[in-house]
């Protein structure tokens, strides 16, 4: 490693989303500019891992200042070099500006988006090159493994994890310490450590960020688990849609082996532990642990009944610990800082933090990590910056297809496992999709039901057939064929499917339907009785009529109409010819005054 000291380091985000927006072009332009001015030995340019602020990419961070530039293009580079690098003047217009702030804020920690977060799982984000094991080590990487092997017995490790109160971050929230302990007590060798990287919930990309941006944090957590329970082989099951994660994990595994941090006799302490990366092939149900095990064995990913639980009988019939990516990423900090430190964060029953993927109608889209117990209000309006386009908050979907929606009015709900369940939702893996008044809740229920119909493995009749019937009924309602009694029918069927399916997919499939009926019953009634969708989303249930008293005569709808169905003149109210109208809804989306019903 070179002993040369750079006076400044600029990190260009190399996460999938920033790359898709052109961050590598920005980085190349920056390198060229620095060479042009002969600054390349003074200023280091490197790849950064995902900073979580995906909605504003490409992003670049300047160290040691902590200044954060966003939404960059190659043309911005010369100004940054000319003013910031050479003269120390921050380029104000390229800084991230929060909607609620007067000025642009240069320092990350001063913004609400970053300031309200607490980073444990994402401790290295934006600060390391994801492909460098040295940079991981420089930030206490593998120090927890060394401490566990050198100073703790396997029982000590398990006790520490138990005391920390860490609960599985994949969604179910089972106590990790108990899981490891149960596996330790089994004597049937070999045992396995499995990481569930199948993140299939629509709207969730937390695990992607960790696998791509900090792969070693996962490997270290797995190695410590292996030591604790007596396993010598680990597998990371990564969904096929994440090719970069597969690549980075493979590189990380190879680098760790080179350094003697994986393989035989790790750190000379006698632990043997190897990790293999296994790809998925596009099946949401393989995120269910027993289906995942089948998939790892090259079979169809169809769940089986539990008991026996995988800790007793798992991969190839042997005791296996299966935990989520985020769960393993918590292990290093817990071992290094101690269980007491971890329990000081979070609530009584839910310790530590949770990473959320905040998307949908919020201004600040991205990945955020907050202490358990943070309110929805803080998440959506503090960190999220509130609803964009001047619209209002209607509901938030938490927990993906297994979760439910929480309506406006319940913003004071604290985020932890128990309180979310009590309002009909679920922590899930961490996907949080915010919805405004243009989202139809009946359509949302149908969206999730469609998803589950496609992804159901088909084994249980109730799930396979019942979900299809629910899908058809919801489609009838959305297309104007709803009848009195349909809502009660849906409720009864949903509860039945839930009660008679044996895997998590079927068991929780009722949640989207039941939670939308619970909080938005009047929307269902409006679709059925009035044949009207108040969100103006279901095209069969829209009148396509301009309301004279609301129309401001701006002509926006006229300009967006693709079928010539709208007539308008300056200073006149617009009108829509229903014969010509193709129901594309361009006019509704263009109208800023909600003048079309």
């Amino acid at each position: 490693m070179s002993a040369h000291q750079h006076r400044m380091r600029i990190r260009s985000c190399a996460g999938t989303l920033c790359i898709a927006r052109g961050s590598m072009d920005v980085k190349k332009a920056l390198e060229k500019e620095l060479i042009k001015r002969d600054l390349q030995t003074d200023i280091e340019v490197c790849m950064g891992n995902c900073n979580g602020f995906c909605g504003k990419g490409p992003v670049m961070a300047v160290e040691p200042d902590g200044v954060f530039y966003s939404e960059l293009k190659p043309k911005h580079v010369s100004r940054i070099v000319e003013e910031h690098v050479l003269k120390g003047i921050i380029v104000q217009e390229l800084l991230f500006k929060e909607e609620t702030a007067e000025d642009r804020l240069p320092l990350m920690k001063d913004t609400d988006f970053f300031g309200l977060q607490k980073l444990i799982v994402l401790r290295n984000r934006g600060l390391i090159d994801a492909e460098s094991i040295d940079q991981y080590i420089a930030r206490d990487g593998y120090a927890a493994l060394a401490k566990a092997l050198g100073e703790m017995s396997p029982i000590n490790v398990i006790q520490e994890i138990k005391r920390s109160g860490l609960r599985g971050r994949g969604g179910a929230g089972f106590r990790t310490g108990l899981k490891w302990e149960a596996c330790k007590e089994e004597s049937n060798l070999p045992k396995y450590i499995i990481c569930n990287g199948d993140e299939g919930d629509p709207g969730a990309f937390m695990d992607r960020s960790v696998m791509e941006g900090d792969p070693h944090s996962v490997l270290e957590g797995m190695a410590i688990a292996g030591y604790a329970v007596g396993a010598e082989q680990g597998y990371v099951y990564v969904r096929a849609e994440y090719p970069l994660a597969i690549e980075r994990l493979q590189k990380a595994t190879a680098d760790a082996r080179d350094y003697g941090l994986l393989g035989e006799d790790i750190l000379g302490k006698g632990l043997n532990f190897n990790i293999e990366i296994y790809p998925g092939a596009g099946a949401f149900v393989c995120g269910e642990e027993t289906a995942l095990i089948k998939s790892l064995q090259g079979l169809r990913g169809m769940p089986r009944p539990r008991p026996p639980f995988p800790v007793h009988k798992g991969l190839f019939g042997h005791p296996s610990v299966i935990n989520n990516v985020e769960t393993y990423a918590n292990v290093n900090p817990i071992i290094l800082n101690g269980a007491d430190w971890f329990t000081s964060i979070g609530t009584e029953q839910s310790k530590g933090t949770k990473v959320f993927a905040l998307t949908g109608a919020v201004k600040n889209i991205g990945l955020v990590e907050v202490p358990m117990g943070t309110t929805l209000r803080s998440l959506i309006f503090g960190i999220g910056g509130g609803i964009e386009k001047g619209r209002s908050f209607k509901a938030v979907q938490i927990g993906g297809p297994s979760g439910g929606c929480i309506p406006a009015g319940l913003e004071s709900v604290e985020i932890d496992y128990e309180s979310l369940k009590s309002v009909g939702a679920m922590m899930g893996s961490g996907g949080v999709v915010v919805m405004d008044e243009t989202t139809c809740m009946v359509d949302t229920a149908r969206f999730f039901t469609n998803f589950l119909v496609e992804e159901s493995c088909g084994k249980c009749t109730s799930c396979r057939e019942g979900l299809k019937v629910m899908q058809d009924k919801l489609t009838d309602i959305i297309e104007g064929r709803g009848r009195e009694g349909d809502v009660e029918f849906l409720q009864g069927l949903a509860q039945h499917v839930s009660a008679t399916s044996f895997c998590g997919l079927g068991k929780t499939s009722a949640n989207p339907v039941l939670s939308t009926i619970r909080y938005f019953r009047e929307e269902y009634d409006g679709h059925i009785r009035d044949k009207h969708c108040r969100a103006l989303s279901c095209e069969s249930l829209i009148d396509f009529e301009v309301m004279d008293d609301k129309c401001t005569m701006c002509g926006a709808c006229y300009r967006k109409c693709t079928s010539g169905a709208i007539t308008w003149e300056k200073k006149k109210v617009a009108s829509i010819d229903r014969e010509q109208c193709t129901r594309c809804r361009n006019c509704i989306q263009a109208c800023r005054f909600r003048a079309i019903r």
């Binding site: 999938t16 989303l17 790359i19 898709a20 927006r21 995906c54 909605g55 990419g57 993140e199 299939g200 919930d201 629509p202 709207g203 969730a204 990309f205 695990d207 992607r208 969904r239 096929a240 849609e241 994440y242 090719p243 970069l244 296994y278 790809p279 998925g280 092939a281 596009g282 099946a283 949401f284 998939s295 790892l296 064995q297 090259g298 079979l299 169809r300 990913g301 993927a357 998307t359 949908g360 109608a361 889209i365 991205g366 990945l367 979907q397 993906g400 996907g431 999709v433 919805m435 989202t439 969206f447 999730f448 998803f451 496609e454 992804e455 493995c457």
Partner: protein, 173 residues
């Protein structure tokens, strides 16, 4: 060597002639890579699909023999997982995300725009006339920060709208 991708004469989904035996011999390399072990069936099928573009019966049978797995099980796996196809696809696979975050940002309109005209030649089907692209709706690519999102092969393209999607296709021959 066979060009096994979809063409105007042989659109996606049609019956094609079987891959000849000497070409199937190339599968030995994949079988060797996984030591002939049955539990690596899924990665083996992924590699085989990359090699041939699709997984017809004759490829499935060869892999079944090489990995010591009943052919019926291979068929079961191929038909279970959505990444596998038994019919030829276009040279590039376009995945249009219909996950929650993309859905609330209007991704179904994008799917309609692509398959129903706009000079890409899909004509309501899933493969373009010139055999370049096969379009597939998928459920969440995990890049929700850029919703709506599509993937063309391994490249992610975000902030897609019906008006800008066409220009992304131009970069792929």
């Amino acid at each position: 060597m066979h060009d096994l991708h979809a063409t105007p004469e042989r659109p996606c989904g049609t019956q094609v002639e079987a891959i000849p035996s000497h070409e199937l011999d190339r599968l030995e390399e994949i079988i060797g890579r996984y030591g002939g072990r049955s539990r690596y069936l899924i990665p083996a099928l992924k590699d085989a699909q990359e090699m041939f573009g699709y997984l017809p019966k004759e490829v499935q049978h060869r892999l079944a023999g090489g990995l010591n797995v009943p052919a019926s099980r291979v068929f079961g796996v191929v038909t279970f997982y959505s990444f596998f196809t038994t019919t030829p696809r276009g040279r590039h696979t376009v995945r249009i995300c219909l996950g929650t975050a993309c859905y609330v940002k209007g991704s179904t309109r994008i799917l309609e725009t692509v398959t129903n005209g706009n000079g890409l030649g899909f004509n309501g089907g899933s493969t373009s006339e010139d055999g370049r692209f096969t379009v597939e709706p998928v459920r969440c690519l995990g890049t929700c920060g850029l919703a709506p999102v599509i993937m063309i092969d391994a490249d992610v393209h975000g902030n897609i709208s019906p008006s800008n999607i066409i220009k992304h296709f131009d970069n792929y021959s």
